[in-house]
């Protein structure tokens, strides 16, 4: 199959590669660029572990063609925080005991980030959080501590917003 030059913006950096038109973003991230933080499982958009952000919104990278991501800002788990400077959601997931095997966690955190960013200014109810992450399966935790972590993170963000009103 003929390959064409693809230019992707991932975590603020530009990546150029020759790609076949049917390659998914997940395939490109993991197998072409070697960014393994985005996880692979069902490849049918049923489990959510491959979730990344496209212009800030959660998408399943296993079904999105890499070409469709051109011209958009792609954020993967590697773009969220570092060990020294964790994203507040990453921090809250650790503190709340929301991580067990961890395989769903990158997708879960990015789904939560997209949801919280789309709902600024209030702390969503636990039910709303459950609805928001229902597309990502976690077999380890039973979800309770994941909901705790997202809730705690939302509370902290609101408290910070109150302390530091927008300039």
């Amino acid at each position: 199959m003929s390959r064409r030059l693809l230019e992707l913006t991932i975590n603020g950096e530009t990546h150029q590669l020759l790609a076949e038109p049917h390659w998914t973003l997940l395939h490109v991230l993991r197998n072409q660029i070697g960014m393994m933080g985005t996880k692979e499982n069902c490849l049918e958009a049923e489990c959510g572990v491959c979730t990344v952000l496209l212009d800030g919104r959660a998408v399943n990278s296993c079904l999105l063609l890499a070409g469709q991501a051109e011209g958009h800002q792609i954020t993967t788990i590697e773009g969220l925080g570092t060990p020294e400077n964790l994203d507040p959601l990453q921090q809250a997931f650790i503190e709340c005991g929301a991580v067990q095997c961890g395989y769903c966690i990158p997708g879960m955190i990015l789904t939560a980030k997209s949801f919280l960013d789309e709902n600024p200014g209030h702390v969503p109810s636990r039910q709303e959080i459950r609805e928001a992450v229902a597309g990502t399966l976690c077999r380890c935790t039973g979800y309770g501590k994941i909901v705790d972590a997202i809730s705690v993170s939302a509370e902290r963000r609101l408290a910070k917003q109150h302390k530091e009103p927008a300039a």
């Binding site: 993991r30 070697g34 960014m35 393994m36 933080g37 985005t38 996880k39 692979e40 499982n41 069902c42 490849l43 049918e44 049923e46 489990c47 572990v49 993967t76 788990i77 590697e78 969220l80 925080g81 570092t82 060990p83 964790l86 990453q90 997931f93 650790i94 503190e95 005991g97 991580v99 067990q100 095997c101 961890g102 395989y103 769903c104 966690i105 990158p106 955190i109 636990r126 959080i129 459950r130 609805e131 992450v133 229902a134 597309g135 990502t136 399966l137 976690c138 077999r139 380890c140 935790t141 039973g142 979800y143 309770g144 501590k145 994941i146 909901v147």
Partner: protein, 761 residues
């Protein structure tokens, strides 16, 4: 030095500390087996049968082999005819003359890309001729169709009683059950059924294999049992064990589904043929048609009681459907009998467990294997009896439960018995006094017991010159935080902080042996081995300090990261440096093994696990509502009271409970690998319904701590019990809410509404 000398101060062990591998997991740096790659790696895929039972007329791989990019194609004809297995060695790598189930491996391909490997599968020409098949486990016991006509040729454990499709039969007998039944006030007899349940780990089974220049093979894989996998691979590859090296980079859940060899052998065989590293990763479809789901079961249970509801005897039979290979079925037919006996004074027992072959997916041990099937039967029936006798279901249980010092079903002495406390606490928390608060709403309770599996653990603990310690263990961290727990035990004993401990990855070439991440044993057994190593290290530290100060070790203490003798102190770090100068550094080998208690062999026949090591006790209670029109269940509250002995890290114990209950809710209400005429009808994650965040309620955990004699600081096994009770607790709550009694899992809305309608008619 005696490990028991250590006491938990609450400084590290017992604290809610964050797990040690948490940061790597939240930033995407943690490497799982599915992430592992090697330069020049080929991609392997497996061709699987699309028929449930058929004679292989022809396999022609020539077209596939000729495709550009295809490096090898292998079938049964290309490898030694080895059969592997646990109690029964019945499983070949590829189908031999017949395929035995839908999904049975026929051939494997390695190619330069995954796409080419997939195209090559389609180019393999296989001709299959249908054979009559047997799918129902009860029919299989009397059917003339044999899944394995050559069953008598298999190598088996001598304890097994077998006959045709029956691959194991075990019994548990106490007293004269027939006499007890003859004199009973009432006898209850019911039949219950449970379904095949996939473990549902989010990381598929994945392996990369590579052979070195000396003919040794290394396999990077997500197994729960690296040493068992090493042994099985050595048999399949016909190599000494030491020439097979298994490394577990990281594992995205297991729950029992990654205990036994999964795709490692395909990767190793393909890599040997191509002299290239080969990776094999299961697809979702392969997971659902050809992994090792929880066995389905049929339970016949008969119970005799007196006028007050006191148990006089139980008779029963559980049939465990193994599918095409025995797997853990014989062991589970055994273990299910203890669960059927329950944490009860039964009077007499006459229980039988049967493991049977059918032409379905080879099943296995999913978290508390056999637990939920047997518990669903016994705890549902307890409620049926209570209802019939007009006794409150909690009260009926309290009249019959075991107490400290009672004999268990095999005649073993029961210790640290806490089932009453668990039942009372769960009942109080759910508001048992108001069991039917509104029409369509009801509460249910169930209790059980479960073992802490023994098996040996070894650890090396090394103290570095900065005063920190490295734990080298052959135990896999499957996500439970069991190794964080074991490290907390180690840190506590060495007077270190948890941050001072590092855990080395599992590598069968360098790690001490461990029986594996199974059976609620990792924190328990590795923790005990850590205490043994800590005792050794403490003695080494004392002796180094004694030499330094020219005194004896009498009265020395290890506290605040230093050795203290009177007014003298010396830091562990300094002693580690001194040890490097003269003693080759500080290192200790700690081991642990926890044999089961003494039992009465006269009470068991052909039983593979006759007496449970350090049993735990637990109760769960549910409050739910049922929509009378649709049958839909919504769980309002869910309470767990579980005896964990000593809570090494309460956060992750709650995590085990919440996750286990969630899996149990799935088994109870929605999960089933559905077969029709031998074919799986729902081999994808849309139609195989695992609970989402919308389906699981808030789970309230009550940690009961009745210390064990054998566990680190009194701990008991934690991981498996939480998924035992949900089917029964929810069935009992559904009955309380609606009057409908469900006898088969999963209790889908469709089944419930059908039951409600037939009750109305």
């Amino acid at each position: 030095m005696n490990a028991e000398a250590f006491r938990a101060t609450g400084r590290v062990a017992g604290k809610r500390l964050p797990r040690m591998d948490g940061i790597g997991k939240v930033i995407g740096k943690h490497v799982y087996a599915a992430d592992f790659t090697l330069p020049g790696m080929l991609y392997g895929r497996v061709l699987r049968s699309n028929k449930p039972h058929a004679r292989i007329v022809k396999i022609d791989t020539s077209r596939a082999k000729a495709m550009p990019g295809v490096r090898t194609v292998i079938t049964a004809a290309d490898i030694p005819a080895v059969r592997y297995g646990q109690a029964v060695r019945d499983a070949p790598v590829f189908a031999l003359d017949r395929v035995l189930f839908y999904g049975h491996a026929i051939a494997a391909v390695a190619a330069t890309t995954l796409e080419i490997a997939e195209q090559a599968l389609a180019a393999i020409d296989v001709e299959l001729e249908d054979l009559p098949a047997v799918y129902d486990p009860e029919e299989a016991l009397t059917n003339a169709i044999l899944v394995h006509p050559d069953w008598q040729d298999f190598k088996v454990l001598p304890i097994l009683v077998r006959d045709g499709n029956m691959t194991a039969r075990t019994r548990m007998i106490t007293g004269d059950a027939d006499a007890a039944f003859a004199n009973a006030y009432r006898v209850y007899e019911h039949r219950f059924k449970t379904a095949l349940q996939h473990p549902g780990y989010t990381e598929p089974r994945a392996s990369v294999a590579d052979w070195d220049a000396n003919g040794n093979v290394t396999v990077w894989t997500n197994t729960q049992l690296p040493f068992d996998t090493q042994t099985t691979l050595s048999e399949i590859l016909d190599l000494p064990v030491s020439r097979v090296r298994v490394i577990v980079p990281g594992i995205g859940g297991g729950f029992g589904g990654k205990l036994r060899i999964g795709v490692e052998h395909y990767a190793a065989l393909l890599a040997r043929n191509t002299a290239r590293p080969v990776r094999v990763l299961s697809t979702s479809e392969e997971e659902l048609i050809a992994a090792t789901p929880r066995q389905s079961a049929v339970v016949h249970l008969k119970t005799a009681v007196d006028r007050d509801g006191k148990l006089l005897g139980r008779q029963g039979r559980i049939i465990v459907d193994c599918g095409a290979f025995a797997g853990s079925g014989p062991a589970m037919a055994s273990v299910s009998l203890q669960v059927l006996a329950g944490p009860y004074r039964n009077g007499t027992l006459a229980l039988e467990g049967i493991a049977v072959y059918t032409n379905k997916v080879p099943a296995g041990s999913f978290r508390a294997p056999a637990g939920p099937m047997a518990n669903f039967a016994v705890e549902s029936q307890m409620d049926i009896i209570a209802e019939d006798l007009g006794i409150d279901p909690l009260e009926l249980r309290l009249r019959n439960i075991v107490h400290e010092g009672d004999k268990g079903p095999s005649g073993e002495e029961l210790k640290s018995v806490s089932v009453e406390e668990c039942l009372r606490k769960a009942a109080a928390a759910i508001g048992w006094h108001d069991r039917k608060p509104a029409p369509g709403r009801g509460k249910g309770i169930a209790c059980s017991w479960w073992m802490t599996t023994g098996g040996s653990s070894g650890v090396y603990v090394k103290i570095d010159p900065d005063g920190t310690a490295t734990l080298v263990s052959g135990a896999v961290e499957i996500g439970t935080a069991a190794l964080t727990g074991a490290s907390q035990v180690l840190a506590e004993a060495l007077s270190l902080d948890l941050d001072d401990i590092k855990v080395a990855g599992v590598d069968t070439q360098t790690s001490p042996y461990d029986y594996g991440a199974q059976g609620s044993r990792t924190a328990f057994s590795v923790g005990n081995a850590c205490l043994a190593a800590a005792a050794d290290l403490r003695q080494q530290l004392f002796e180094l300090a004694a030499k330094q100060w020219n005194i004896t070790t009498d009265g020395m203490e290890l506290r605040d990261k230093q050795v203290i003798a009177g007014n003298k102190t010396i830091a562990i770090a300094e002693l580690a440096r001194l040890s490097r100068l003269s003693g080759g550094g500080l290192i200790a080998h700690g081991t642990a093994n926890s044999p089961g208690p003494a039992f009465d062999p006269g009470r068991v026949e052909n039983h593979m696990l006759p007496a449970w090591n350090t049993p735990s006790f637990h109760a769960q209670a549910a409050d739910l509502s049922v929509d009378s029109e649709t049958g839909a269940v919504s769980i309002n509250r869910y309470v767990v009271a579980q005896d964990v002995g000593f809570a090494i890290n309460p956060t992750y114990i709650e995590g085990q409970i919440e996750g286990g209950v969630s899996q149990g809710i799935g088994q109870a209400l929605s999960e089933e690998i559905v077969y029709q005429n031998g074919r799986v009808m729902n081999a994808n994650l849309t139609d195989y319904k695992m609970p989402t965040a919308m389906d699981v309620p808030e789970i309230e955990c009550i940690l009961v701590q009745s210390a064990s004699a054998a566990g680190p600081f009194g701990a008991k096994g934690v991981g498996e019990p939480p998924c035992i009770h949900p089917p029964a607790a929810l069935a009992n709550a559904i009955a309380a809410a609606t009057g409908a009694r469900m006898h088969s899992l999963p209790m889908t809305a469709e089944k419930i509404v059908k039951e409600l309608r037939s009750a109305r008619e």
